[in-house]
Amino acid sequence: MVLSDDNRIRQSNFKPYLINPGGIFLDKKERIYKTLSQIVGDEKWVSNSPVDCWAYSYDMTYKRPQMPNYVVLPKTPEEIQSILRLANAEKIPVVPFTAGTNIGGLCVPEQGGILMDLKRMDEILEINEEVRFAVIEPGVSQAQFAQELFKRGYRFGWPVGPPSASVLACAIHHGIGGMSGRYGLNSNHITGMEVVRPTGEILMCGSPAIRRDSWQSCMPLPRFDGLFTGTLGTTGVVTKLGVFIPPVPDYVHIGTFAAENLTDMEKFMRTFSKYEYADDLTAISWWLSQVPIPYPYVEKPKGAPEWTGYTVLYAFTEKELENKIDVFNKVIKDLGKQGNTIKSTDVPEESKRGRTQLPSQIVGSTKNYCKMGGGGIAWPGTFTPSNRWVAVYNLWKEIYTKKAKIPLSPSTRVTMYRGCHYGMLRIMTPFPRDRPEEEANAAWCVREAAKVLIDAGGIPYKPPTDFAREINKRADPGWIDLICDIKDMLDPNGIMNPGKWGVR
């Protein structure tokens, strides 16, 4: 018997499955297991064993473990359609998962259910060098994509995250990478997508919606891709993603600089960013410049600048590069004349190169962050206007070094994004996973930091549920209503990663 009792399903290309493959005597757990196995064609790709489910129950953050009831590894969008239809019929949650490295517990199932591990969908379907886009599946890793693009002289906004993490999961969640100063966030690079809606229908967004092999842009159509971006796997499963891939320029210079305080550093970054010359314009506090981050807090040595930074200047011609370097030097000089403590610094070539060598196994492996802390890491990673950075950083320092039971390093990063004077403001917070009291101390710091940040006008990205609650508390009611309406419209049974948005 083919399941067809849901009149919302208007398409017929999903994989049909028997509603009760083992006969009427199977209990629900066994029935779902059998049905999932039938959908994906082999029991090998399904598990309801607690041994397997445990390995999906927590991540690198302080979030308490919560196990899914099933893990399934689909290979095709059609299989995903059938899984979602089954989940609707049985009213069980579905949590999309690619590598689980989001630093927000976003794949930890709040209410159990089916953990949909998408790593078998790992094909780079197209790299179009003429129109400069690539089409990828969810399981394509940063490492895999980097290898293929580099061969052809193209690049992407590589985050400093794990090489094993998904390009797609990062891009649809407004990931930040090494090109964010020049081209914007990774979500700005999306040129089209294929999505399976929570109720099982499949759709295309952007230009491939009109012609399937045209993946050049989401515009000029309505931005329906927005319904599936930044939504933490709560509105559908993205099964294909088109992304813009710019060529690797021939010339690069890495400028390095330091300032005694964030006020001066921010002034420099704001001034230099107006030229839109930098692919990456980042500064880090002294504690983050230590490798790894000191755990617990240590005093900064007297005389060491509190802030150091780097800018990656790419160019296609020598002249272009010269101009960028001239402007960089001039901004520093001019500000210096005004009494700003910003100055150029000389750092070893190797550490400069590290700024462009992304994705990085060293940074992505969390070594720089939590090797000393002991395996746990969390942070409020935020988009914040640069004129609030100083105020928030000072509050963060107060929380981390004075108010915390165990003082922690205020290891903070700021990065300018393209478009206007806002950017990343985040405080990396390592902790030992096996010492509950210290874990709680770090969790308290992170939560307090998120609260003062949101109050100051910043917004956490890829927010864990505790941040989502804080965001919603302060949100415009009309905006919350719209989220609820959209969620109800797309996901009437509330099966998609429930709880993560903090509204449903």
Partner: protein
């Protein structure tokens, strides 16, 4: 019986430092150019995160130690056994990890097995069978102990005294006798005063150690060490990567059993001869690639750890201060005139396991075969490669099985066979 093994609780200070970053799932390097390749045979086969890399093992150890899953339930016991015992313990994941967990990954996986053995959840059925065979006949193949040196009859009389003793190991003695014969032939051609242990050579203990057993391999170790130390040998040579790791490292590490003689893998022995100008090799025209056995390469890496917190902090991993045997066998191979050498994409620390280790060949033959096929296909991808050379009889066996299954033209040979051929001419 006294030993230096640590329990799971002890290892938890390190495996709880796994951040779950997933870097251990593939071998990635920025380069340039950036390269990325699969590294975990178990993860590639099963795909579930409960099987992938040392990340998975950290989850599993915690589940066992903190009773996160009900290990009294037979179905869960079965699942746990499969997750823990279907790993080839190749160490590919260990190479990728950058945190303080790194140095301990291999030993910890074996301790997890030991923990399950103590609970009656291991070893696997197949391992139990070969365990009994080792106890009875001192080899895992179920062959009679008295026939251990049958291969030698074609070569020369049994001689048990001399400067150098050739520790043949079970696989070369019973299954890959051509490797044992080549080793004997090479030693003879080089004018070595060499001996064998005869009926006193027992299995080195590797197959039992890898399955999480402790007392049984200790008996084998004590027997072998007593005999070797009592007979005044100066050098112990073995052509097996598994025996090499156990003799050169583990007897002392686990049980404080010191061998008086120097332990050399045949490739080290040959490199020494080469340096002295005593290795006169004639041409063997062939295009070859080299497969690093895990037990000779990654497993022989030595890790500097700051246990006392003198340089960094307590238990911090500092560096690999002595790498495994990567260059030695390559140097010997490249010294053979006529050899055209081509490196596989995954090599040295990032070599892809042959698939036979950790008891997998017996317990999970499908995983073993699929893994070996992947490796053979990698060699096939190199233009004109005729032979895959490796200095380990167990790797030769499993990779050879894959060539048969694939109908591949790539021939798998042991390094010593190639050297023997070159020395003949």
């Amino acid at each position: 019986m006294a030993d230096n093994f640590k329990d799971l609780k002890w290892y938890s200070q390190f495996f709880r430092k796994c951040s779950k970053c997933g870097t251990c799932k593939s071998a990635y390097s920025y380069g340039p150019p950036p390269t990325n390749a699969t590294i975990c045979p178990q993860g590639e086969y099963f795909k579930l995160d409960s099987y992938y890399g040392s990340r998975a093992k950290s989850f599993l150890g915690q589940a066992i130690l903190e009773n996160r899953v009900d290990l009294t339930d037979p179905a869960i016991q079965e699942d746990m056994q499969k997750a823990v015992f279907s790993c080839t313990v190749c160490g590919g994941c260990q190479t990728q990890c950058q945190l303080d967990y790194k140095p301990w990954i291999i030993d910890y996986i074996e301790e997890m097995r030991h923990n399950l053995v103590n609970r009656g959840i291991g070893p696997t059925k197949a391992e139990k069978i070969y365990q009994e065979k080792v106890i009875k006949d001192h080899n895992p193949y179920g062959e009679t102990h008295s026939s251990r040196f049958n291969w030698l009859k074609d070569v020369r009389n049994l001689k048990t005294d001399g400067n150098t003793v050739y520790f043949a190991g079970c696989t070369a003695s019973y299954r890959r006798t051509e490797i044992a014969k080549s080793t004997a032939s090479v030693l003879t051609k080089l004018g070595e005063d060499w001996a064998v242990m005869g009926e006193n050579e027992y299995c080195c203990g590797s197959p039992l150690l890898r399955a999480g057993l402790r007392e049984e391999p200790q008996k084998l170790a004590e027997h072998n060490v007593d005999y070797l130390n009592d007979h005044g040998f100066k050098t112990i040579v073995t052509a097996c990567a598994g025996c090499y790791k156990v003799l050169a490292k583990e007897y002392e590490k686990w049980w404080g059993l010191k061998l008086k003689a120097k332990v050399l893998h045949t490739s080290q022995y040959l490199e020494e001869k080469m340096k002295k100008g005593e290795l006169k090799l004639s041409s063997v025209p062939a295009t070859v690639t080299y497969h690093d056995p895990c037990h000779m390469g990654r497993h022989m890496n030595h890790y500097e750890v700051d246990m006392e917190g003198k340089k960094q902090w307590k238990g911090s991993y500092i560096q690999i201060d002595k790498p495994g045997l990567y260059e030695t066998p390559r140097n010997v191979l490249k010294a053979i005139p006529g050899i055209q050498f081509k490196e596989m994409y995954r090599n040295r620390d990032n070599s892809f396991c042959c698939g036979a280790g950790g008891g997998i060949k017996a317990s999970y033959p499908d995983v073993a075969l699929e893994t070996a096929k992947t490796r053979i296909k990698e060699a096939e991808g190199l233009d004109g490669v005729q032979k895959m050379v490796t200095p380990c009889p167990f790797c030769v066996t499993n990779l050879g099985d894959a060539t048969k299954a694939l109908g591949s033209k790539v021939e798998v040979v042991d390094l010593i066979q190639l050297v023997d051929q070159a020395l003949k001419k």
